[in-house]
């Protein structure tokens, strides 16, 4: 694979991420069920990290997390950098050790990324606020139920990029 391929691959991933973030803010934020809307970023991180090289996806997840931290308010500074980098590491481990990269692997990675996001948010929030387990678990569960089905369109969007620039 040429140097240029690496650049174009991640450029296309970045463009896909921008499209998905636009979909999040224009459509998904208004799509509320049980008081919760689907949350795409962890799904995106899980899907990319499950099929790409571990080191590359770790860097990409950290950069994406940093961008999210600069654009969204979170419980602590750099929350998304930390969460998405950890999710990418987990996804890399799953793809390398437990299952073949593919839709199932991406789904499991996205599920873990969503779970990690929710658990870490609740943990950091509990430092300064009263957070009861049922409240946090309920919110995490609803968020996963609504967000996880989106792995299919995300996977279908990212799959051609992965196939086009697949490392030989």
């Amino acid at each position: 694979m040429k140097q240029g391929d690496l650049f174009y691959r991640w450029l296309f991933y970045a463009l896909a991420a921008a499209v998905l973030m636009a979909v999040q803010s224009l459509a998904l934020n208004g799509l509320r069920l049980w008081g919760v809307h689907p949350f795409l970023p962890p799904v995106l991180v899980g899907a990319v990290s499950a099929c790409e090289d571990r080191q590359e996806s770790l860097c990409a997840a950290a950069i994406f997390g940093l961008a999210c931290d600069l654009l969204m308010i979170a419980v602590i500074p750099c929350f998304y950098t930390l969460t998405f980098a950890s999710a990418a590491l987990l996804a890399g481990l799953i793809a390398r050790r437990l299952m073949m990269p593919g839709l199932l692997c991406s789904t499991v990675s996205a599920l873990l990324a969503l779970l990690l996001h929710g658990v870490l948010y609740a943990l950091f929030l509990s430092y300064s606020h009263i957070v009861t387990f049922p409240a946090a678990a309920g919110l995490i569960g609803k968020e996963i139920l609504l967000s996880l089905p989106l792995i299919l369109p995300v996977y279908l969007l990212l799959r051609p990029i992965h196939l086009r620039f697949r490392a030989e």
């Binding site: 391929d5 509320r32 008081g35 809307h37 750099c78 950098t81 919110l139």
Partner: protein, 279 residues
């Protein structure tokens, strides 16, 4: 190509870590909005505005096709409410005149509420389910600063400005877990604290805590800002009591408050940039 990441991956990760740690330190030591956040907000504001416009258009189209029967039922309900309010207004007019006469007779200072408003559009909402924040189209250039109260077109409290850049500002709504407001029960004058709660955020409700054991709160009671400490103006309507409960320990009572402002759909808001309240 793997060699590129093997060689430079650690440098790239170190650079991201350095920026992340820098952001943490900046956020910890700075009291206001950091330069980086301000600059990024300025760059992002046209995109947010464009996104907000598209989203508003989509919502407008959806609302256009809302059922006619729903609208007729709503219209009937509103007409009934207008009649009730007109009756209340007539009685309040007489009460107000009597109040004025008594104040004059007792030599009391006149009540006064002067607010300076800056109108702003909601250009984006928080994507996270764990927080409830809004980004506004105006910032420090329009005298908006951190701590300013934000109300909707009816004067109902939406939230408080928690970040302000040159042409943008972030509002933490009354539903957010970070939101804590000195509140007062309008009917009884009882003081309490209205705060966001993780259990209630998905139901668009907030919690009224620190109620006294002798509290005579009833469902439907209006909750307003207390104005104690002079940080926020007094008398801004937060919401009405929906339910009164006792916590798990059985010792403390709290109320669930339904905010009067429609926080999830509010589009146009007014920031109170300065105020004078004399009671």
């Amino acid at each position: 190509m793997k060699r590129f990441f093997t060689k430079n991956g650690m440098i790239l990760l170190s650079a991201i870590t350095a920026v992340a740690v820098g952001l943490c330190i900046l956020s910890a030591i700075s009291s206001g909005t950091g330069f980086l956040y301000n600059a990024l907000g300025v760059v992002a504001s046209p995109f947010r505005a464009a996104g907000g416009a598209v989203s508003g258009w989509v919502q407008g189209v959806t609302e256009h096709f809302q059922s006619v029967s729903d609208l007729q039922a709503r219209n009937e309900e509103l007409e009934r409410r207008v009649a009730e309010l007109e009756d209340q207004l007539r009685r309040a007019g007489a009460d107000s005149e009597e109040n004025q006469r008594l104040r004059n007779a007792m030599g009391l200072r006149q009540q006064r509420r002067d607010f300076t408003f800056a109108s702003a559009r909601v250009v984006s909402r928080s994507s996270s389910n764990w927080a409830s924040t809004l980004t506004l189209s105006k910032g420090t250039a329009q005298d908006i600063s951190i701590g300013d109260c934000v109300v909707d077109e009816f004067g109902y409290l939406v939230g408080v400005v928690t970040d302000a850049g040159l042409n943008w500002s972030t509002v933490t709504t009354v539903l957010d877990t970070d939101s804590q407001l000195g509140a007062m029960v309008f009917r009884t004058g009882e003081i309490a604290v209205a705060a966001g709660d993780l259990r209630l955020i998905t139901a668009d409700r907030l919690r009224l805590s620190y109620l006294s054991s002798e509290s005579s709160l009833i469902n439907g009671d209006l909750i307003v800002t207390s104005g104690l400490g002079g940080y926020f103006p007094a008398g801004l309507v937060i919401g009405s009591v929906e339910d009164i409960l006792t916590d798990d320990s059985g010792l403390d009572r709290y109320a669930i408050v339904s905010p009067k402002a429609n926080v999830p759909t509010v589009k146009e808001v007014f920031v109170i940039t300065s105020f004078t309240v004399e009671d």
